[in-house]
Assembly symmetry: C2
């Protein structure tokens, strides 16, 4: 039992190497699961498991039977109606982003919500159009069905083109739905973890900017080129500024007024959140007023503003998606599928955490996938969740997806009955309403400063994601951003801050020698710490830092020694060296400097081999002076401790590199100890045939202190043992003026 | 001084928290270099540094003055001539891969070698055409200047198309050169570290397969579609098999014979390497014979075989690259630039290591960049180094790049004078020669098995790189492979094997509790180890594993306690609870179960706040039974130790996540200690405002054992202190049949 002795750390135990410890304490042989075992476990089937999985595909079967009619229904009705009204307006507004007639936005608001009611696991999100996603669908649509080559205006007048766009939007949506469904069935909802907060923040900010730019044409009533390709952000801006004098003043004024009103009331809603029973439905109010005024004063004829125009009552027949679109827009499909899911999932997570229930990423993917497939079939466009709308659903008291289905009933009523009331509404009003939702996203620019202070890499992720998303467009930008973000993980570990440690405080604590002045470094011992995993991209850096820390390259020393040995052998063969019981005598003045002697390939390879002195009748002390002009750098290092406690893995490249380094050290008689690793780490190395005659698994010690104590004991021991050794050890000295001197035998 | 006491580890020192230790041993305040400092240091200029940098741009100025004419010149001449002959044949053969007339391959063999002589830093590589690279240029060429829509044959007969292809190849080469030069000037030769051995092995294997497939058409003399796009590998194969009956038998037989001869002699060269003075120049011999036979028997007319045909003597006028190609082939340019450099650099590294001299990655990039620019201007195509040719240069005794320049003199002679001798040579012979060089690369398939045994991730990299390179083509495939490879670094750390540790051997050693049977776990203490960095992609996993290890979610406990507290407050307000000096009495039978009571948003948020009992006249012991039907899960955990010794970094997302976790634990009175971190780690957290009233920097301890001792002492202390506490602590019990019982005061 461990008993604290006051505030004292008192330990007395044997020094342990990893092997020694495992042996003494009987480490169990555990069979680790192989890939096959994991697969088996994963694919094992039981009727219980099957039932659970089947049920998990239809979450409504779990929650609807437990619905508390009396307590929840009223809240859900209130919430559903409020959310439904918002959904109608947002549907109309976001359809403009898709570059299709506003009426189709209602389908996008209706179908996914219905499907989500059955298949979704979140109780609080409102499923339907989301500006960024609509924008992405719009970009794909503009590429698939671009304006005429003369950039002719196309505000719903050219019927074939409009139809083509509607089909394109529906097909892309269908495609995204299939991708989401496939991801969901493969249970890889896990992809969301690759999107860090910084990335999402920067991406949505860039998306908001894209939305602003793409809505400018409706606010100013201008004709601009398609906003879809990489760099089109700037092209659209340029186009707008070159024709700014053509602005329709009536539209500009209307939209500015509405923007200001919406901003003010949203601010009021925010500030008096606690005092207001429900948020003021400012969007609904301005829409009603704007539609009324536009109708009353006949804005369309008088000022030439663009209005929503005829809204077809009821639904369109379902349509088969265009297979050609699948081929051309596979990239867009992927990014729409992923962005749509990620946004919805992150909003859903917030609520699930707040209300403490579980959501299932893969099931969400299935729900959104099916939703988009249905929406695509009925000529809607891709849905996710708008943050603002979900906030309405939750804050007005929505308890379950009953609110969601009620909101789609409201949309249904508009589609079937009262849609015509919205016909005189200006498109610029819708554009202004869409912009009103973006304030929060645009405010995220403040993140940059905050991140810069906290973490340079995260700041870099934000900035690069933003640049990629603006310049390359949202789809390609997202891919580039994720690639860059993953690269930062490599960056972070690629140049580890390797340090040399020293004993601080004369006990068992070792810290960076630069941080403390009162420290102790045992002679001839270096403690080197690498604070990151070692793999292909940083094994070179690790080696470089290690050589820098110890001050010499082991390979170079090895080669110099082998070269020197060749010369000594030559001298010996020529009979110029004589062994005496008390020393070693060089009987010549000097030999030809053959340091630059040409070596053939074979000889060069031999220089890297272990030093073999077994054929010589004496040992060589490499740190003493050698005879004549044989110069070998002296090294004082006899032991090197590598602190690998933070080296979480090695790959094949780094294993090979590390093994080479270890061999080089072993060949110049420097003992290397590796400390602080997991047992698994050693097991893994053994499994990879890392160990052999030169690199042994006895080099692992539990802690730095164990290794240090072991080294000290070994040195003491070898010093004392050395006195009893039979084999004489020789030490050369040369009298500079050609004479001979026989240095006394010295123990190291 | 540390003295080893036998083989004993004996330590007696105070228990240290990280702060305590730093204070006691006077940790120095070091100012870490900011990004600005690094930039300053990097951009600082001195005349010495300037001179060094200038000299490094022209390495010949350093090594040529030291050239040992007498010793080296002869070897260099022998080596240069041998290499030159190989270079001529490879140049001709690899030009077929580019889909341009063979003669242009000679330019590709000539110009880069000349430029490299002045700017290169490796002494042993032979610069010029490389099959994989030629193949990549060829793919770009076929995309830029495809066959006619009818797939009409184009064996150098259609002059305009051939000219177009030559220009395309030259332009792509020029572009790759510019990219390499730019990379070199920016000193980012570092990119090579991202290409691991597994990746290069798989990539070259796939490239070799591509080469085989693309040479089939010359060996069989068939017309096949362009081999350039993604999936074209299969298209070409399909096309070949559908028209296999059109094969030109003469070509097939010739190339098979030559293939067999070349393989046999290469095997002999390999096996009797030590006995042969120089390798048998089998390629040269078969070429001379084949050209002679073809000329003598007039194969061209008799069998309709394709021959090299007219070779223009001398050089072509330089040409400006096609700017349109730059736009269309920017991706190819990048991949050619990178692959060319990587291959050459890895070969050069081998020799530089063997002969112990330094090569400079960035300077190599500059040398290859300039070489490709010049080659592109003179209608050559991109060069790197062929492994086989470099092996010839080194094994025949080449000492410096003098051998390289001599080999280009040989090429020059062929270009200017004796090229016409090769005119009757069959193209299928060249194709067979090109294939003869691929055996080594194709043999790399054996890697898969070796890697599978060693490291699953590296094996996965190999397989995926191979698939990407085959299916997507070399350019796009390389990009996808690198992205995947970087992703594996994330994979490796994404699902760390988190473990629960226990004390083994009753001293200061803590190991995985599953590995040992004789272990000790202090009561109420969990030691949790995460063996990988924590960042956005695994913070969720970390949290999940932590909760799994301790057996409960701290947030859920906190919420239950806060709910219970609300009820107790309510009871107290209603006067149903009474405090007596000796206990706490509940004066009712039971209250309405309000566990499912509806809470509004505000109330739900309050559940996550710290538990505030300051307004209650008693403390609550959450692990005792609470009155009535108030149920709060009991937890025995009072201290949690997180072993972060292998957590090499945190990012902003994981910091936020970790802070949330720490707060939740602190709010349910579980002390969290973090041990094993660097001092820098704590500094970094402090800098990010990680610490506040609830999460304090006093939670860091040096080692697990320090933390354990601290916990034990604290528990002893609080237990003894508790006896003297004034405030009574209460414990509720309810008599199940409605009566009241007053439990005695108990100390925990």
């Amino acid at each position: 039992m461990i008993e604290p002795v006051g505030n004292q750390y008192v330990v007395a135990r044997p020094v342990y190497s990893s092997n020694g410890f495992a042996e003494e304490h009987k480490r169990k042989e555990r069979r680790h699961k192989t890939v096959l075992d994991h697969l088996k476990l994963c694919c094992r089937c039981s009727s219980k498991k099957a039932k659970k999985i089947l049920l998990s595909f239809l979450p409504i079967a779990s929650w609807l039977p437990g619905y508390r009619l009396k307590e929840w229904l009223l809240s859900d009705i209130v919430s559903g109606i409020s959310t439904g009204l918002v959904a109608v307006l947002q549907g109309l507004a976001f359809a403009l982003l898709v570059n299709i007639p506003p009426a189709y936005g209602l389908y996008a608001a209706f179908f996914p919500a219905i499907v989500y009611f059955f298949f979704g696991t979140s109780k609080h999100i409102s499923v339907g159009p989301f500006p960024v996603l609509s924008m992405m669908v719009g970009a794909a649509v503009m590429r698939l069905a671009p304006d005429g080559p003369d950039g002719s205006p196309n505000n719903g007048t050219d019927d074939t083109l409009t139809q083509k766009r509607i089909t394109a939007a529906a097909s892309v949506t269908f495609l995204a739905g299939i991708i989401q469904l496939a991801f969901g069935l493969l249970r890889i909802g896990i992809v969301v973890v690759y999107l860090s907060e910084s990335l999402i923040s920067a991406f949505t900010t860039a998306a908001a900017l894209h939305v602003v730019v793409s809505q400018l044409k409706f606010m100013l009533q201008l004709t601009v080129p398609a906003h879809s390709d990489p760099f089109s952000f700037f092209k659209v801006l340029e186009s707008i500024f070159t024709q700014i004098q053509k602005t329709n003043i009536a539209d500009l004024v209307t939209s500015l007024i509405i923007l200001v009103i919406v901003f003010i009331f949203k601010e009021i809603n925010q500030r008096f959140k606690s005092k207001l029973p429900v948020p003021i439905p400012i969007e609904l109010i301005v829409t009603v007023i704007a539609a009324g005024v536009s109708y009353g004063c006949d804005f369309e004829k008088r000022f030439g503003v663009a209005v929503i125009g005829t809204m077809e009552k009821g639904f369109q027949t379902p349509t088969a998606p265009d297979a050609q679109v699948f081929q051309d827009a596979i990239g867009d499909g992927f990014s729409i599928a992923i962005v749509g899911f990620v946004v919805a999932f992150s909003v859903a997570s917030v609520y699930s955490l707040k209300y403490d229930y579980a959501i299932d990423g893969s099931q969400e993917l299935i729900a959104f996938g099916l939703g988009n497939i249905v929406a695509g079939a009925f000529r809607g466009f891709a849905g996710s969740t708008a943050l603002s709308r979900s906030a309405v659903q939750e804050s007005t008291g929505g308890k379950t997806q009953i609110a969601g289905i009620l909101s789609s009933v409201v949309v249904l009523i508009v589609i079937l009955a009262i849609g015509f009331l919205l016909q005189p509404l200006q498109k610029s009003v819708l554009a202004a309403l869409a912009l009103g939702n973006l304030k929060g996203m645009l405010m995220q620019f403040a993140e940059i400063g905050r991140l810069w202070k906290k973490d340079k890499y995260d700041c870099l992720i934000w900035i690069m994601t933003f640049i990629f998303a603006i310049v390359l467009g949202l789809g390609l930008g997202l891919a580039a951003s994720v690639a860059f973000e993953l690269l930062t993980i490599v960056f972070r570990t690629q140049f580890p801050k390797c340090t040399t440690l020293a004993n601080i405080g004369r006990s068992n604590i070792y810290k960076n020698r630069k941080d403390y002045s009162d420290m102790y470094e045992p002679e001839g011992v270096k403690i080197f710490r690498c604070p990151a995993p070692i793999y292909f991209a940083n094994i070179g850096f690790f080696k470089h830092k290690l050589i820098e820390a110890i001050g010499f390259s082991p390979l170079r020393i090895l080669r110099k020694r082998n070269k020197a040995l060749k010369k000594i052998r030559k001298l010996q063969k020529q009979g110029l060296l004589q062994v005496t019981p008390k020393g070693f005598i060089c009987t010549v003045d000097g030999i030809k400097d053959s340091d630059d002697e040409e070596l053939d390939n074979n000889q060069i390879e031999q220089l890297d081999l272990p030093i073999d002195t077994s054929d010589l009748p004496f040992q060589i002390d490499w740190n003493a002076d050698l005879p004549l002009n044989i110069v070998v750098p002296k090294i004082s290092l006899h032991s090197l401790i590598l602190d690998f406690s933070a080296v979480s893995f090695l790959d094949v490249s780094s294993m090979r590199g590390l093994k080479t380094i270890l061999k080089e050290f072993s060949r110049i008689q420097v003992d290397v100890y590796i400390v602080g690793t997991d047992d698994e780490f050693i097991d893994k190395l053994a499994q990879c045939q890392f160990f052999d005659d030169e690199v042994k698994d006895s080099m692992f010690f539990l802690t730095i202190h164990d290794a240090i104590l072991h080294i000290m004991m070994k040195k003491d021991y070898s010093a004392s043992k050395f006195n009893q050794e039979k084999e004489p050890k020789f030490d050369f000295t040369i009298n500079t003026n050609g004479g001979l001197r026989n240095r006394d035998y010295q123990s190291s």
